[in-house]
């Protein structure tokens, strides 16, 4: 997903869930910040690099795919962009090394989605935004894993299923590997990662082999994932994105105290129903990014102007704060929530017997085990381990 959904659509969903326009904007900002909070960004503000929620292409190019490198990549991508669907999935006749990766495949409505939303319940709008980013990404990034793996993330035989006057047309998707070549919906040409059969190549991270197809809300397509053993996956992005939107409204309703328990596979379609046609028309419109449409919908919905996403907006406040005050700033709270999320997911992966994300012990603010007072530790030292 891109800025259109993580920022503008999340803003709309938060407002529909009952948040004020200002709270909704904070949630949306936090949700979008997950895609920008790299180590480079954090270092700029002298924050805790363990709070990184993404990696820039340059950072990935710099990362070694040795054990610590893979653990770092997996902690970031599996925690924030490819939340594993089932850490205890079972397949017959597969070795452990394969199953460890297979179990990291992202999917919707897994137990970790519930854990993520419940964890966000302890935080403010920043934690809520992070949780909404992760929840929404489970819909866009399902079927890919947040760890470099050729045997899992390679994919082939992409066909777009386009509605035409003559019914549904099956059009072959053409990929090139030039990173500066823009994607074209008209010519059906997209950019994807180069095929690298090295199992741990970062080219095989997440949906790199599918290019940005999972991120475009209008795309309806089919493909064969490497893990699927010749199975064809049909991916209907408009429908999936709509469900993501309804689930976000429900999840934020829970975070506001509207529901006592968070249940997976539950959607607040009642609140969204009056706007269904408009939302679906935005999602189905053939365009690479729908910022303007979502922004206009959000402004009409709330009756308030919505500023564009500005990455530097809260940096000054964080830099100007005294060390002990930093964790009470917007960025400080975001970093704390990000570390908590990363720690929770890493711990769940580790507890399942899977070592790809590294070793972890449960967080314990009491200090008996795990990272004691992780927020203070992170800010106090400026560097450190997330788990």
């Amino acid at each position: 997903m891109q800025e259109d959904f993580h920022y503008y659509a999340t803003y709309c969903a938060a407002f529909l869930a009952g948040y004020t326009p200002e709270e909704s904007r904070e949630i949306a900002y936090s949700a979008q910040l997950v895609d920008c909070c790299s180590k480079t960004f954090i270092r700029k503000y002298k924050g805790p690099v363990t709070a990184a929620t993404t990696q820039l292409q340059t950072e990935l190019a710099d990362t070694h795919t040795n054990i610590p490198g893979i653990q770092d990549i997996t902690r970031i991508w599996a925690s924030f962009h490819f939340l594993p669907g089932n850490l205890y999935a079972v397949l017959k006749r597969r070795p452990r090394v394969y199953m460890d990766k297979y179990r990291l495949i992202c999917d919707v409505n897994g137990p970790l989605v519930r854990d993520t939303v419940i964890l966000a319940n302890k935080g403010g709008t920043e934690a809520c935004g992070i949780a909404m980013h992760i929840l929404a990404d489970t819909w866009a990034h399902r079927y890919f894993a947040g760890t470099p793996s050729f045997v899992i993330n390679d994919a082939r035989e992409f066909f777009e299923l386009r509605e035409t006057e003559n019914g549904i047309e099956r059009i072959k998707v053409r990929f090139n590997h030039n990173p500066i070549s823009p994607d074209s919906l008209e010519k059906n040409k997209f950019t994807n990662c180069l095929k690298q059969d090295g199992e741990l190549s970062t080219m095989n991270l997440g949906h790199g082999r599918a290019g940005h197809l999972p991120d475009y809300s209008c795309m309806v397509y089919e493909f064969q994932p490497a893990w699927g053993d010749y199975m064809i996956i049909l991916k209907d992005n408009p429908s999936d994105y709509y469900r993501a939107f309804c689930q976000m409204v429900y999840a934020m309703g829970f975070l506001r105290g509207e529901f006592t328990e968070f249940e997976t596979d539950r959607y607040d379609e009642e609140k969204v129903q009056p706007y269904r046609d408009e939302i679906m028309s935005i999602l189905k419109k053939r365009q690479l990014i729908a910022n303007e449409d979502w922004k206009s919908f959000g402004e009409r919905l709330t009756g308030t102007a919505l500023e564009d996403f500005d990455l530097q907006k809260y940096g000054g406040e964080y830099m100007a704060s005294a060390r002990e005050e930093k964790e009470h700033t917007f960025l400080g709270r975001f970093f704390t929530a990000a570390i908590a999320q990363k720690s929770m997911v890493t711990n769940k992966i580790y507890s399942s017997g899977n070592r790809i994300a590294g070793f972890s012990v449960e967080q314990d603010p009491g200090g008996l085990k795990g990272m004691a007072k992780f927020g203070m530790t992170a800010y106090g030292q400026g560097r450190g381990g997330a788990s």
Binding site: E222, Q224, D229, Y230, M231, I232, L234
Partner: protein
């Protein structure tokens, strides 16, 4: 959901798997053909004595004529072999992609497999009579076995594909 169930029925999955085998085996046959040609040309350039060992006697002119004759024969055999392999490989890839289906190339594949196997057996015999070195033969036989495996896979996959298509 029904569409999803149909496209991912065990029969359809098996069809895609076998088509894929056919395509890859076709590519393998072409690559082994190119390797065979490259190997012979390199051998001729680096070690022409291998081909000329039976022409030790005679005048210089007779020797040159023998070289020309051998080059000609080798080139003809290489070209024919390569053409056959390309024919088999391209047809297998086409059938794997569901474009073309012809029984002719399967007959050619079968014959080629028999000839290839016969040559491999002759190589073994040449070791027994002392014309070849066993260590160099081992490598060549391993490659030949892999090449024959690719040819065998084409026969198996094409037959299986036809059988599955009849059931579909």
């Amino acid at each position: 959901m029904d569409t999803e169930n149909t496209i991912n029925s065990p029969l359809n999955i098996e069809l895609r798997r076998v088509s894929n085998y056919l395509g890859y085996s076709g590519r393998a046959v072409i690559i082994f053909g190119l390797w065979d040609a490259a190997k012979t040309v390199i051998q001729f350039i680096l070690d022409p004595e291998t081909f000329l060992q039976y022409f030790d006697g005679g005048t210089e002119i007779a020797r040159k004529l023998a070289v020309a004759f051998i080059v000609f024969i080798v080139m003809v055999l290489l070209t024919v072999g390569l053409c056959i392999r390309f024919f088999i490989g391209i047809r297998a890839i086409s059938e794997g992609q569901g474009k073309m289906k012809s029984p002719v190339y399967l007959v050619v594949t079968g014959l080629f497999l028999i000839v290839n196997t016969a040559f491999m057996i002759m190589d073994f015999i040449s070791v027994r009579v002392g014309h070849s070195e066993p260590d160099s033969l081992l490598i060549s036989v391993l490659i030949e076995i892999t090449s024959d495996f690719a040819l065998g896979m084409i026969l198996y996959s094409a037959c299986r594909l036809r059988f599955l298509n009849r059931r579909a």
